[in-house]
């Protein structure tokens, strides 16, 4: 069995009279330690999938199996625990708490985690060893995203979910962030799922899942993923 498996997952939103299928029978699986990229146009339903996978949203139908457990059956409370111990999130807009320093933002995660990496250590690992006591506003976008990644990684998550992590960054910075994610995947064995609409970065992934109109259009396995440094767009 795969590490992550989605089987016939449906998510429907009722907008008055109309019912919209945000996920219309999604099926895919990701192996442990893989760097997976989910691509699709805006509004294709990528984020819905990611939200359900990250326990931020529940599905209406189907199974979402992560590490052998069907999280679709989780209660809200269990979902929180799932997010707390098993999932790391990285967002497009970093979502750092503005009032906390880089270190404190990481501590926000480590405070509630049982087995975690020290905040200082992880920050050094993402290359922010000397910016630890800076507030988000004092950091550049790339640095903020690094803090965000550090915060996600500090928990030693089973699954690192990144929603357009480079969306708000310039080309070069975006690349370094993707590199950090790829390196993390390779070095720590963390399963990383990245959502993007940028098809150009698919070559770096082990697995590329394309979503179109709320359905999985294709799943492509990449035997030899390229290093991010070699990809240009």
């Amino acid at each position: 069995m795969s590490f992550v498996e989605l089987k016939n997952v449906y998510k429907r939103y009722k907008m008055g009279e109309v019912t919209i299928n945000a996920s219309d029978g999604i099926n895919f699986s990701i192996e442990k330690g893989e760097f997976a990229v989910i691509v699709g146009a805006s509004g294709a339903g990528k984020t819905t999938v990611l939200n359900m996978l990250g326990g931020m949203d529940s599905c209406d139908e189907g199974e979402i199996i992560v590490d052998g457990v069907d999280i679709a059956k989780y209660s809200p409370k269990e979902l929180i625990s799932y997010r707390r111990y098993d999932i790391g999130f990285v967002f497009q807009f970093y979502n750092l708490v503005q009032n906390l320093t880089a270190k404190e933002n990481v501590e926000l995660a480590t405070e509630i985690c049982k087995d975690c990496i020290g905040a200082e250590q992880i920050l050094r690992e993402v290359g922010l060893g000397d910016r630890m006591n800076n507030f988000p506003a004092q950091l550049s976008g790339g640095e903020q995203q690094r803090v965000s990644i550090a915060r996600a990684l500090a928990k030693k998550p089973k699954l690192l979910l990144c929603d357009e992590p480079t969306g708000a960054l310039d080309y070069q910075t975006g690349k370094t962030i993707l590199k950090l994610l790829q390196d993390t995947c390779r070095n720590t064995g963390t399963t990383v799922v990245v959502i993007t609409h940028n098809l150009a970065i698919t070559p770096m992934a082990d697995r590329v899942i394309t979503i179109k109109s709320s359905k999985v259009e294709s799943i492509v396995l990449n035997d030899k993923p390229a290093s991010i440094d070699t990809i240009e767009w």
Binding site: T47, F93, N99
Partner: protein
């Protein structure tokens, strides 16, 4: 405004309906409370005003020591074009029936034609026949008497009821209410135990009095003036002054007429008296003459008897013998001639001479003839004696009769003279101090003045609280609108980029604000005006007997509120927009640069900071970061807590004064008012002591006077005890704060705390009653109701005021307080005791009054609570909205619901606690301010706030905080992480 902008505005109302409703609600609450409380007093007054107009309560009530004749009543009406007057009768009598025990009531004449004081029928009907009466609706509850009962009246002091009433028995046909009595108070009377139990109306024709006892006057135009306002007072006062002057001339005329009438009779009587006096004198003279005559007669008879005896003697002596000497005959004749009433005439001399000089043996018949002659003479004398004696006896009885008659006449004369003197005295008494008492409503109807005072108290509260409410509401609107403008900065940027002008963009917010404000104001004002005055009025219903209450909509209040609300919401959106409007559209389209995190002061205290838990650090960071929000929260919650402290404190201040007054200050159980003109103090004391109910008593003079200082004046009760050493059994004269007890001495005066404040004086200052008669303040005593000045009798003498020291009250300490009526019976039956009042009933009536006031305060507490709740909820909500992103982030990080809540609760709790503490402190000052504002001159509210008020206010704040936090918990639970994280902050 363009169509799409309008559409956008309406959509945004729909989308942010919660906020829209919040603004609407807070404005409704603020303006509702403001207008409601504000309108309460005018509405209550208006209600009474209408009632008085409907029932045609007299504007001026005149009474006179002489009563009024019809022509005087007419004179009053014609004195001023604006006047309409009517004469009426009233009398304080006892009512009694099989079912009703004897009690004192005021009996009024009922005239269906009367244009004054229409009785309001509560049950039954008005009298139609002269043997019917209607009674005070107060009797309805106990059914004493009930409709259909026959009742009888009796006069006090064994007086004959027929002096007052032609008919004495009446059938009760209904219960009524008179507009003079809107409260449950019926006033006092000089009959019975001094309490007036109610009133009765009997048809006018039953009164058998020569003159009217009362004159009611209505003044044209007065009905258009609010009777509780100064304009009315001034208007009526002017008329009263006119009538008082007029009364003086009328009284003069009346006195002259009474005196003239009386003296016409008196003079007639006097003439008669002098006539009969003359007659008596004449009779006396005659009597004296008669007596002399009579005595002469007596003496004449005696003489005649002596003469007759002598002659008989001579007849027998000279039967045979004869005198030789002529001189012997002369001697006899001389003897007979001696004295008055008889003189021997020629015949007798001849007869005697003949008889005596001729011896019998020489008689030639002459002697015999003489004898015969003598015998005839004697018999003539004897006859005359008999006649005279008879005449004399007759004369005697005549004389005796005359003497009796004279004695009778003299007695009658004396009576007549006494009668004249009485009549003269009566006239003098009647006309002495003859006076009109011209009274306005508040002078004679205590309930009128009380009602006005109570309304003013409500008004005093209305002066402070609602403004506070409005301020807090404004604060909330301000934060909410500001937040909204900030939230929509991207939209603003978009509009600007599309080329919309400032006005159009700002117009949207202002439109939004106005659309929330105006209906809010209308709903709030309508609701506030509809409920609060009525509610307050209902509280007073236990005292005042108005059945209906109509609240009028006040457009002016609505306008004030609307202007205030629109200004507040509009201005806040305008101000918030300023920042956005000067920004370039591009800046607005970019996410707002998040507010920089900052090191806070606490971090510099390393030992403290490093020891703090991570979450605590976050809390403090946030508190310091969002200073303005924290300040808002502190002000909002602090304000509400302060309101609560004020509410509770004020309530305690008001409610506790009765107990404090009667347990800390007034120690006496009863006070008897004495007639200082004729009081026999020793006997009054004995009468009281004889009941066995009195532990101790003290006489004193109690006088109402104006006390002045350099800075003010106030009306006071001046109390001068008979024996100042004794006073501690009746009054506890001490300082409230220092607890120092003051002894009255001749050196100065003790005044109460409130009085000292009114006069702005302190210990050692001097105060005076009349210019130049000042006394030094030697004590400032605890006291709550009315103002008192205590002075020892020696000190009073030193003051040298223009009235003399005469005891007119007796303070009584009872041993069986429950047997008050016995003491009353014993004392009031005395002529020199006017009334007996008991501390228990005094405190009871005061308590009801005070309780009704405390209702209003409770209303304020409830509203303050509601406001506190709304404020907290709104501010917390804003707090959450502003930090949605942050909260979503920590939710995504896997914070459990409880942890997420705790994350924000810590801040809320700390700001709430800070607000609470600030509120508790500010509350002390605010309470003081409100207390001073509400206080009337004659009352001091208890100035200390007991701990429970703070506890209650704090507890309520905490309860609200907890409740708001519980609601917040569900709101936090519902935060949609995915959606909120997707958007830019």
């Amino acid at each position: 405004m363009k169509k799409s902008m309008l559409k956008n505005t309406f959509r945004s109302i729909k989308n942010t309906f919660g906020r829209f409703i919040a603004i609407f609600a807070i404005i409704a609450l603020g303006s509702g409370f403001f207008s409601g409380i504000k309108a309460a007093s005018p509405d209550m007054k208006k209600n009474a005003w209408n009632y008085y107009n409907e029932h045609s309560l007299d504007n001026i009530h005149i009474m006179s020591t002489l009563g009024f004749e019809q022509n005087e009543v007419d004179d009053i009406a014609s004195f001023d074009d604006a006047f309409y007057s009517e004469g009426a009768y009233s009398s304080d009598l006892f009512i009694e029936s099989d079912s009703v025990s004897r009690k004192a009531v005021k009996v009024y004449s009922y005239d269906p034609e009367s244009k004054f004081n229409y009785p309001e029928i509560i049950e039954g009907r008005l009298p139609q026949n002269s043997d019917e009466c209607v009674v005070d609706y107060k009797f309805r509850e106990t059914e004493q008497p009930k409709i259909g009962d026959k009742v009888a009246f009796s006069a006090p002091n064994e007086d004959d009821i027929s002096d007052t009433l032609l008919r004495n028995e009446y059938t009760v046909v209904g219960y009524i209410r008179l507009p003079m009595y809107i409260s449950f108070e019926r006033g006092t009377t000089s009959i019975g135990n001094g309490t007036l139990n109610g009133y009765v109306l009997i048809p006018k024709e039953n009164f058998d009095l020569e003159v009217f006892t009362d004159v009611y006057v209505k003044v044209d135009g007065a009905e258009k003036l609010d009777p509780f306002k100064n304009e009315y007072d001034d208007f009526i006062e002017e008329k009263i002054n006119l009538l008082e002057d007029f009364g003086e001339t009328e009284i003069e005329k009346r006195v002259k007429k009474i005196t003239d009438d009386a003296y016409e009779e008196i003079n007639d009587a006097k003439a008669e008296v002098s006539d009969s006096q003359k007659d008596i004198e004449d009779a006396k003279e005659k009597l004296v003459d008669g007596e002399i005559e009579y005595n002469d007669g007596l003496r004449a008879i005696e003489k005649l008897r002596a003469v007759s005896g002598k002659l008989n003697e001579i007849l027998s002596d000279y039967e045979t013998a004869a005198v030789s000497d002529q001189s012997e005959i002369s001697a006899v004749i001389d003897e007979l001639d001696q004295g008055d009433f008889f003189s021997a005439d020629e015949d007798l001399v001849q007869l005697l001479t003949g008889y005596m000089s001729i011896p019998a043996e020489y008689d030639n018949g002459t002697k015999a003839a003489c004898k015969n002659g003598l015998e005839q003479y004697i018999s003539a004398i004897d006859n005359s004696i008999t006649d005279n004696s008879e005449n004399l006896a007759k004369a005697r009885s005549e004389l005796d009769n005359a003497a009796n008659e004279i004695a009778d006449g003299e007695a009658k004369l004396k009576d007549a003279q006494a009668e004249i003197a009485d009549a003269e005295k009566e006239v003098a008494d009647k006309t002495k101090d003859a006076k009109w008492y011209v009274m306005g409503r508040s002078d004679i109807y205590p309930s009128f003045g009380n009602y006005g005072d109570d309304c003013d108290k409500v008004d005093a509260i209305a002066k402070v609280f609602p403004v506070f409410f409005i301020l807090i509401a404004a604060l909330v609107c301000w934060t909410t609108m500001t937040r909204m403008v900030e939230e929509q900065r991207i939209q603003t940027g978009t509009f600007k980029a599309l080329g919309y002008g400032y006005g159009e963009i700002m117009g949207q917010y202002i439109l939004y604000a106005v659309l929330a404000s105006i209906p809010g104001v209308i709903a709030g004002v309508a609701l506030g005006l509809g409920t609060i005055p009525k509610l307050i009025f209902t509280c007073y219903k236990s005292i005042y007997a108005f059945d209906k209450f109509s609240a009028s909509f006040r457009w002016d209040y609505a306008l004030y509120c609307a202007v205030a609300a629109c200004l507040c919401t509009g201005l806040s959106s305008f101000m918030a927009c300023q920042v956005e409007l000067i920004s370039k559209p591009a800046e607005l389209m970019r996410p707002k640069p998040p507010k920089n995190g900052k090191r806070i002061f606490l971090e510099r205290i390393k030992p403290l900071w490093s020891r703090m838990k991570f979450t605590t650090k976050v809390t403090f960071r946030n508190l310091f970061r969002y200073k303005s929000r924290v300040i808002m929260m502190v002000i909002g919650i602090g304000g509400c807590t302060a309101l609560l402290v004020t509410g509770f404190g004020l309530r305690d201040s008001i409610v506790s004064i009765v107990d404090r007054q009667y347990s800390n200050v007034f120690l006496y159980d009863a006070v008897a008012a004495l007639d200082d003109g004729k009081a026999d103090y020793a006997k009054v004391k004995k009468a009281a002591d004889d009941t066995g109910l009195v532990d101790n008593s003290m006489f004193a003079m109690q006088k109402v006077d104006d006390l002045y200082s350099e800075k003010g004046s106030a009306e006071v009760y001046l109390i001068v005890p008979d024996d100042e050493k004794n006073i501690s059994d009746f009054f506890d004269i001490h300082n409230r704060v220092t607890k120092e007890h003051y002894n009255l001495s001749d050196n100065g005066i003790v005044i109460n705390e409130k009085l000292a404040r009114l006069l702005d004086v302190k210990l050692g200052d001097s105060v005076y009653f009349e210019q130049g008669h000042s006394a030094e303040i030697i004590g400032i005593m605890e006291n709550y109701t009315f103002n008192y000045a205590f002075i020892a009798s020696g000190g009073f003498d030193k003051l040298g005021l223009d009235y003399e020291l005469k005891n007119n009250v007796m303070y009584i300490d009872m041993n069986y307080v429950s047997r008050e009526s016995e003491l009353s019976e014993a004392l009031v039956e005395r002529d020199d005791v006017l009334a007996v009042n008991y501390s228990s009933s005094g405190s009871d009536s005061f308590r009801t009054l005070v309780e009704s006031l405390s209702f209003i305060v409770i209303l304020v507490i409830v509203c303050a609570g509601a406001l506190a709740f709304v404020v907290m909820f709104n501010l917390t909500n804003i707090n959450v909205n502003e930090r949605l992103h942050e909260l979503a982030t920590i939710k995504v990080l896997g914070f459990y619901d409880g942890e997420v809540a705790a994350y924000i609760y810590r801040e809320n709790t700390i700001s709430a606690l800070m607000g609470m503490i600030a509120g508790l402190i500010f509350g002390v000052f605010f309470e003081g301010f409100v207390r001073h504002t509400c206080e009337v001159d004659s009352v001091m509210f208890a100035p200390d706030i007991p701990a429970y008020c703070f506890l209650a206010a704090a507890a309520l704040t905490i309860v609200f905080a907890v409740f708001v936090n519980i609601m917040l918990y569900f709101r936090l639970k519902k935060i949609d992480m995915a959606a909120s994280l997707k958007s830019v902050e």
